[in-house]
Symmetry: C2
Subunit: 289 residues, 2 copies
């Protein structure tokens, strides 16, 4: 029985950011506070998680095809090399790509900057029935926007409220949101940057600017602390995921997504026709007559 | 040696539609003219194909990130239940979803009908570095458009030329195109429609209109014959894939995509920085100072 309890323990409860008590400085990026303790254990569980994710995604897609408005949005944030791309590959890669909407938010273009900061985000909200995944998001506007002083302090300070209002609006329109902060240590980041630089097939992922960002590691953590605490709401909770171990990070995000989809509990739509009538029509037809 | 030759035999050469000799009526939808003869054999080969597809896709994505213009477009066409969706799931599902752009073309909306028939297609052409997959396409405009007489004959007749010009234009802009016609028999279609109607988790995929379309099976085959022959060009070849066996269909399309990507032969971009200089910078930095 103890084993079963452990299995059904909510991974989201472990990782959820609770305003008032959450301290980013107290998080160990190499921790494995729940679930598998080894890569092999994670792989075994991932196979089951993947199969269930795939089923739930198909039901969600079907529900959307039948006129349902619900969808899911997984937001991924984290410093360079924390594994936003790898998470998409290993977590979102488990479901039918036709049901996914993946959006990557890079440095805003000049056209994007002519609009409010949520404009480009709204355009990428997943359609009903889809699982949307954001690789970076509107949170960049209270992270790099704050650390690099791209806007006055008064501006980024008001954005937390605007973000909460935006996410509440999404929730009200049928979007179930889960936000994962992939927490990596500076030591592991260095290791991964070195690995990128030494591998010709990975060098394209590196940008000399990455070191300038890295120099502001502590400032980013402060900015994350505020973003996570100010914007972890019942409508759109933040989860802080230890990301030094790739297998654990992938497993944890997959579990968070799975629990989120289980809560959504999508249902196959009832047919708008009578299946028995259609079966009879099919038995009569002969397309080669 | 004989075995090796068999392995490297071009699957595309077997399935390519050659104008002048191609006869849709001569194709057996249950045939397995090349490659594995069993589901198990196909699964074994698919694992290898999937790994290579994944590698090539990553290189293509990297090339695009480095400013390259090239991309791939896989067009899927076929009658109901021929498995366009299943092919996307099993073939495109083998690569990182972040590198995919999947577009599904349903009955045109009123807004779409106010434009020329290629307007909505152009909007979904994959960006550089991506693999685009079209679930139905501009070919619907010479298929249902012709069979259901949605436009005058003079209009659909001129569309073959417009399509060829459009695809040549795409090719010139860096898009490598492969088009697969998934060929299913009316008997197998009936079997699959019955299965959909009997399974509550599949009923959402069925529409009573499907039987009306099925009644015109022969007319659709005639329309496909013309579309395939008139629009199989060196820039944008058509491949006719036997689709009665799902495992064979998935294997064949995966192989066609693999050979197409091998021809593209994407290359990782050379770094725009000096990796040695960056490694030295990294060794000096200490973000927690």
């Amino acid at each position: 029985m103890a084993k079963k309890s452990a299995q059904v323990q909510s991974v989201r409860d472990i990782f959820r950011v609770t305003p008032g008590t959450f301290e980013i400085a107290g998080l160990d990026p190499a921790a494995t506070p729940v679930g598998p303790k080894s890569k092999a254990g994670a792989a075994a569980d991932m196979a089951e998680v993947g199969a269930e994710l795939d089923e739930l995604q198909e039901a969600l897609y079907a529900e959307g095809s039948g006129g349902g408005r619900r969808r899911v949005l997984l937001v991924l944030q984290g410093l360079d090399t924390s594994g936003k791309g790898g998470t998409i590959r290993h977590v979102a890669g488990q479901v039918n790509p036709q049901g996914l909407h993946i959006a990557s938010f890079k440095k805003p273009t000049r056209a994007e900057l002519r609009h409010d900061f949520l404009w480009r985000i709204r355009r990428q909200v997943p359609e009903p029935g889809r699982i949307g995944v954001f690789d970076r998001s509107h949170y960049e506007d209270v992270l790099v926007g704050r650390v690099d002083e791209l806007v006055p302090a008064a501006e980024w300070r008001r954005r937390y409220r605007l973000i909460n209002e935006f996410e509440a609006e999404l929730a009200a329109s049928g979007v179930t949101i889960a936000k994962c902060f992939l927490h990596i240590s500076p030591e592991k980041q260095k290791e991964r940057l070195v690995a990128r630089l030494r591998n010709p097939a990975k060098q394209w992922k590196y940008n000399p600017h990455d070191i300038d960002v890295r120099a502001k590691f502590s400032q980013y953590l402060l900015a994350y602390q505020d973003a996570l605490v100010k914007c972890s709401t019942p409508d759109a909770p933040w989860y802080a995921i230890p990301a030094d171990r790739k297998w654990y990070r992938n497993w944890a995000v997959a579990r968070v997504l799975l629990e989120t989809l289980r809560d959504v509990a999508p249902v196959y739509p009832a047919p708008s026709y009578d299946p028995l009538v259609e079966l009879a029509r099919l038995q009569e037809d002969d397309p080669l007559r």
